[in-house]
């Protein structure tokens, strides 16, 4: 290798050095440490009096009914919540893509909730959904509908959280809006000439053309919902009776309230595996529903 080549290499490593340091310090070392702790009975990180317990943490988790509830709740948010939130984003994006007067103002209004800190949003939602004094029950009451304990019933708390996610989904809406803007108009014109109705145009032109954006939003939202914490904590503190208790909330409680750090790391490992499997499955199956313009197949 000549001197110029070495210089180029040195420059290359110099430029990626910040990333490598960040990756090593903030991901690699914590990850390896977490794997180590997952097989110990450490009460707190850094504990000196820990013992190696093999797979005990993992086997104990499968007998923990609250951990089971946390998994089921999280799977609900992933397999029901993600499609609903994604559809909600798409619906909003299509409405905001309409060519009507003052649409820029509407776009601003629909994006505003995303800019509000989630803590403030959740407080507003708690007031809206309060069974006694909430505006929602007040409106329903005018139609003779009895008060519903939205935040106090196991059947309603998860849908309320999903609805909250739609409310703060401005970023996803923007991605869809950008994708919708990128669909060539001539495709719609050609479809119309071929006699395609609005529904047919949506399924045969719009959806395929924005499918890369759909995949992106699906992957991001799936990972987010697997790790949902703030909404569950602030809206109902994981209740009632653990009905909104999510996986990451359980990890937090296990580590910081129950002081079972080793167990919490075992939970983290399982979560890592679950996200990996679902995301890989999503990406693997994506070639069946994602259309990349200009991509050569076969």
């Amino acid at each position: 290798m000549n001197r110029l080549g070495k210089f180029e290499d040195a420059k290359f490593f110099l430029f990626i050095l910040p990333w490598m340091i960040g990756f090593t310090v903030f991901f690699l070392i914590p990850f390896v440490t977490a794997v180590y702790y997952a097989f110990t009975d450490a009460r707190i990180p850094g504990a000196a009096d820990l013992n190696f317990v093999g797979l005990d943490n993992f086997t104990a988790l499968f007998n923990d009914r609250i951990f089971g509830k946390a998994i089921l709740n999280t799977l609900f948010f992933v397999f029901v919540g993600v499609p609903v939130v994604t559809c909600g984003m798409l619906l909003l994006a299509m409405l905001l893509n309409a060519d009507v007067k003052g649409i820029a103002l509407f776009r601003t209004f629909y994006y505003l909730p995303t800019l509000v800190p989630i803590v403030a949003t959740v407080i507003i939602w708690r007031l809206v959904f309060n069974s006694e004094f909430g505006i929602l029950n007040a409106i329903l009451g005018t139609f003779g509908i009895a008060k519903i304990s939205w935040l106090g019933e196991a059947w309603s708390i998860k849908p309320v959280i999903v609805l909250l996610q739609v409310w703060i989904s401005g970023s996803g809406v923007l991605i869809f809006l950008a994708a919708l803007k990128g669909v060539p108009k001539h495709l719609y014109e050609a479809a119309e000439i071929d006699g395609a109705g609005k529904l047919r145009r949506f399924f045969s032109v719009t959806l395929p053309m924005i499918s890369p954006a759909i995949l992106f939003v699906l992957v991001i939202q799936t990972m987010y919902n697997f790790q949902m914490f703030t909404e569950a904590l602030l809206l109902a503190e994981g209740g009632p009776n653990y009905a909104s208790y999510t996986y990451v909330y359980d990890i937090y409680k296990t580590a910081f309230t129950e002081l079972k750090y080793g167990m919490a790391m075992a939970q983290s490992m399982i979560l890592f595996a679950m996200i990996l499997v679902v995301t890989l499955a999503l990406l693997k199956s994506s070639n069946r529903f994602v259309y990349y313009e200009g991509e050569k197949r076969g």
Binding site: M1, F13, E132, F133, G239, A255, F256, L259
Partner: protein
């Protein structure tokens, strides 16, 4: 190409080593972590006695609101004036962050020298070995433990050792909004104030009269609209704070948890108590969790909303009632059979790894001893745990608060184990809050709670 690979490996190895070494160097002054006995120290720490008059700076950490921290700062200022060679830095956090911070601090070996403890969390954190065993220090300095009630001391012990010293004697009481009782518009049935040691039967009768729908009808009257209540007679949400609810169970010969760690709520005596509140909530006389949520979310402060006549609360809540400018009265916790209450003393503990043991002890003994307790009493917001400061408290707070001292005699003996802390602060609220308000199957909830504790 081979040469290039070697270059890459060299650079990567150097990088990794520098990161690892940099990471290790930060911890070099603390080589060991606290063990379960809580008595080991960093190996480079001086084991010799500190000279008493050597200038030293220590940290004191506690939870609390801005006002509470300000009051603590005033106490620390008084301590520093009396001990000019010791500087105390106050670190304040809110309740939730405080305990997370303590866990994180314990793991990082950076605990404050002295820290506030809760009666409910003593066992949980003492198990980690982060608290210093105080028995030796207290004996060496002849600290007068007889001035603190045994019941309070026992709540700050772990494995029979004193790991924390009580610094207040907060007690649960029953409060009523006199303004609502005195106004004919909010008390059309002319209900009287509850008596000094009321029964729940008496309170239920008063609460029924004080509960009004939008047409000023009471529960039980024809046409009472349970869906449109404008004023509730009382607010006691058992599932929201089982620790505060525990003396009510005791007053009917029931309890929260058995000695073997199993839930004790399935006895006939306990169910009688639970059913009383479920019925009162179903009738609209007692507030539900959702109603409390809509009124600010704190049942202890329900009477400050002007929509609730009576509520269960702590002695510390009088500061909030004063701030809310309401005219209130205090009685003992209503009884089923016997008058009972629970004393919930906060305490102070020393870090097992402190490098300033003598200074930390001086601060602790001052805060828990007659001088600090008298200063605390003079502030008028907390009841001193040290009986030697009782006079100072009465002088400042006045005769109307003597009831707080009287209530100490009704304190139940119910120390917290790790399991009980989990029951009261984690699983109990999750599982029981709504069933105990009539929303859900109580028997199933108790079984769920039992399973969760296992």
């Amino acid at each position: 190409m081979k040469e290039r690979k070697g270059y890459v490996w060299t650079l990567t190895t150097v990088l990794m080593l520098s990161i690892v070494l940099a990471g290790c160097s930060g911890n070099s002054n603390v080589e060991s972590q606290p063990n379960s006995s809580g008595d080991n120290k960093p190996t480079n720490q001086s084991t010799g006695e500190e000279k008493p008059l050597e200038d030293v700076t220590i940290t004191y950490s506690q939870w609390g609101t801005a006002e509470e921290l300000q009051r603590t700062q005033e106490l620390l200022d008084a301590f520093m004036a009396a001990n000019p060679h010791i500087t105390v830095k106050l670190e304040g956090k809110d309740w939730g962050t405080y305990w997370d911070g303590l866990t994180a601090g314990a793991s990082g070996g950076v605990l404050p020298d002295v820290m506030k403890t809760s009666f409910a969390y003593v066992s949980k954190y003492a198990e980690l070995g982060i608290f210093k065993d105080l028995d030796g220090l207290l004996a060496d300095h002849d600290f007068d433990l007889s001035a603190i009630a045994d019941g309070m001391l026992s709540m700050h012990q772990f494995d029979g050792k004193q790991v924390s010293l009580p610094i207040d004697a907060n007690v649960i009481m029953f409060y009523y909004n006199k303004g609502l009782f005195d106004d004919p518009a909010t008390n059309p049935k002319q209900a009287t104030y509850p008596s000094a040691e009321p029964t729940w039967e008496e309170v239920l009768d008063i609460a029924t009269k004080m509960t009004l729908d939008t047409n000023d009808r009471n529960p039980g009257e024809d046409g009472f609209d349970r869906n449109n209540i404008k004023q509730w007679g009382m607010s006691t949400v058992p599932g929201a704070d089982l620790g505060m609810f525990e003396p009510i169970l005791f007053s009917n010969d029931a309890k929260l948890i058995n000695d073997d760690g199993t839930v004790a709520l399935d006895t006939p005596e306990a169910r009688e108590v639970l059913d009383f509140f479920i019925d009162a909530t179903a009738q609209g006389i007692n507030t539900s969790p959702a109603q409390i949520e809509g009124m600010g979310g704190v049942q202890n402060l329900a009477i400050t909303t002007g929509k609730v006549a009576m509520n269960l609360a702590g002695s510390w809540n009088v500061a909030h009632y004063t701030d809310a400018a309401i005219d209130y009265g205090i009685t003992h916790v209503p009884k089923f059979k016997t008058t009972q209450t629970v004393i919930q003393p906060a305490g102070i503990a020393m870090s097992a790894t402190t490098k300033h043991e003598e200074a930390a002890y001086q601060l602790m003994s001052w805060l828990a001893g007659p001088e600090g307790q008298s200063e605390l009493a003079k502030q008028g917001f907390a009841i001193p745990s040290n009986s030697q400061a009782a006079d100072a408290y009465l002088e400042t707070a006045g005769a109307e608060f003597k009831i707080f001292l009287d209530a100490q005699a009704y304190g139940i003996s119910a120390p917290y184990s790790v399991k009980k802390t989990d029951l009261v602060f984690t699983h109990g609220t999750q599982i029981l809050r709504d069933p105990l308000a009539g929303n859900g199957d109580v028997d199933a909830a108790i079984k769920d709670l039992q399973a969760a504790l296992q």
